[in-house]
Symmetry: C2
Subunit: 356 residues, 2 copies
């Protein structure tokens, strides 16, 4: 039976990417070797990494002031490394708290400098994106989480800020075009909207990063990875290759502009059904609803197990909501085809008919 | 043409492991999904990680005081994290410097406490393992690098020490049985003797680690990963699966005892030829020669390019020596079959005939 993958992460990859990954694991591009056993110093893999870097820049419109790094440790490592690298003596940073991951970013950053939490939507279980708050001038950076996987909210425009934005885009990078000029740094664990688990994309404007410091471990210093093109130590080459194939697929779909249209169309179908269907309701403020993670609950809590079973029976997996919100979460990242949404909507309609 | 993979890392994997990896990338065990897109919280992957942990313990003979962690960041991250986690106020650690990686471990550890370098083989370009040095009592731990990938040396017995050994086993873990009682912690990047790049195995005795501290980033705190069974954040699930398949293969080959015999037999064939062949000589002290990385040079430097070309022509890749030693390096990890060694030896013999 065909499966529709609604997992929040690791998450759906397009079928062409999966086929390429499987082939490369068996034999990489005529080398006679599996991609899993080829040296990162080989000419083939150096070229592969350069191609990936170049495609990231092309798709996001990044100029040569931007460094593209393939690191490990997930966004969770960037929570501390960003503050450790960026905050110099006497500097402060502003943070907007929009959910679990923002809260963790704040906690880890506080170890390395003065952190102002300038806005939070904790008062309503992070069901909205704060607006109209004061963003004190003179900060080293403003940190935001562009999409909140758990709570199903997303920044649909980025805040005005005199300081560059440092953004955790783990769950919505490449879902739409961005204006790079607003950002100083962007980071994303790959395993939601980009590739498999095990690689973290870190984009950093070199002029924003500034001069090299020596007061931190070599491996957590961004300059180390910039100087060595992400090969200071062995990078996760297979993961990077899967990201490359994923980006090639994305380019073939019209790049981030094409992807935005695709994502908006998909999300509209699902949100429209949630709003129409008498059994369900969305949990996020309508104006802040995520294009990536659609959170909703059944009005009658006793329906929950049965609805999830109906989804499973139709081949839709990964729809159980996070415990912080309950109910259901449909993660409909870039690689989710419209067909997957239509199958889910059909289950919702049938469930309403059955219960009505 | 069949290729023989002598890369130092990422390095050879057995053919059965490569096939399983390729299949799992296409579809994981009847789930209808690629292993690259399945949630680490799914019952299938939680079970897979538990099986891997259990097999690591079984193969190395570790009791329940040992935590088995699957982290990222490579051994390079453990260089600082080990000292950060282990060294408390007023404590010191002893380090033996046997090459590039030891030197890096020492540099990073010094950021977190008092480090005594008690022995070094730097005086002879790290071509031997120091012996007969003083190991001051009362240290928190003694740090060694069990196998030196670049210089082709290996500890064939572990030092006597009143303090537990913390060991970087990146390039020889699972190559032979060990006595766990001598160790407090063992760490290894997977990409040499265990699996693909992108996962780091960290084994730590919980009673040696001691109580939880709060003075470090959450993600670099070993307690975080012990409490969350390596799933505090998204682990590199595909990499862990490839390690699992690699360990299953190892078990089928007689476990670490069987592997030791296999490795000793393979290494003997190659070292015997190096010693016999008039054109080549080994670079490491004979009594410290590595079972994993066989370093040698041509006596006539002008032969180098031609010999490498002869190797390439016969399907042997990755034999160029590291720039710190020059010449050639045959990395003959667990997964290298005896046949690969025999092909290389045959090339060496033919080269001698041609030049003689």
């Amino acid at each position: 039976m065909k499966k529709y993958n609604f997992y929040a992460g690791p998450a759906i990859l397009s079928e062409t990417v999966i086929r390429k990954a499987s082939e490369a694991a068996l034999e990489y591009e005529g080398t006679g070797l599996s991609l899993l056993e080829i040296s990162h110093r080989s000419k083939e893999l150096v070229a592969m990494m350069e191609e990936t870097e170049s495609l990231v820049k092309e798709l996001l419109g990044l100029d040569d002031d931007w460094a593209v790094l393939f690191l490990t440790g997930g966004a969770s490592s960037q929570f501390f490394e960003s503050a450790q690298n960026l905050l110099n003596e006497g500097e402060f940073a502003n943070y907007v708290d929009t959910g679990t991951w923002s809260t963790k970013a704040i906690k880890e950053a506080k170890r390395f400098g003065e952190i102002n939490v300038i806005a939070s939507s904790k008062d309503q279980n992070y069901s909205y994106i704060p607006k109209g708050y004061d963003n004190p001038q003179g900060a080293r950076y403003l940190h935001i989480t562009s999409n909140n996987t758990i709570f199903g909210t997303q920044f649909h425009s980025f805040p005005d800020s005199d300081s560059p934005i440092v953004c955790d885009m783990s769950s919505d990078i490449f879902c739409r075009p961005i204006d790079p000029g607003k950002f100083g740094m962007i980071y994303a664990g790959a395993q939601k909207n980009l590739g498999p688990a095990g690689v973290t994309l870190v984009l950093i404007r070199k002029s924003f990063l500034g001069d090299k410091r020596s007061d931190m471990p070599t491996i957590t210093n961004y300059h180390t990875h910039i100087e060595k093109s992400s090969a200071f130590n062995t990078p996760p080459v297979f993961q990077i290759y899967v990201c490359l194939e994923s980006l090639k697929w994305l380019k073939s779909m019209g790049g981030v502009e094409g992807m935005q249209k695709h994502n908006e169309a998909k999300a509209k179908i699902l949100y429209d059904e949630i709003d129409r269907n008498s059994l369900f309701e969305g949990t996020a403020a309508k104006e802040d609803r995520s294009l990536m993670n659609v959170t909703f609950v059944s009005k009658d809590e006793s329906h929950q197990t049965e609805f999830l079973a109906a989804c499973e029976a139709a081949g839709c997996v990964g729809l159980k909501g996070h415990r912080s919100v309950g109910g259901f979460r449909a993660s409909i990242y870039n690689a989710m085809p419209k067909e997957g949404i239509e199958v889910l909507v059909q289950i919702m309609k049938e469930f309403e008919n059955k219960k009505g």
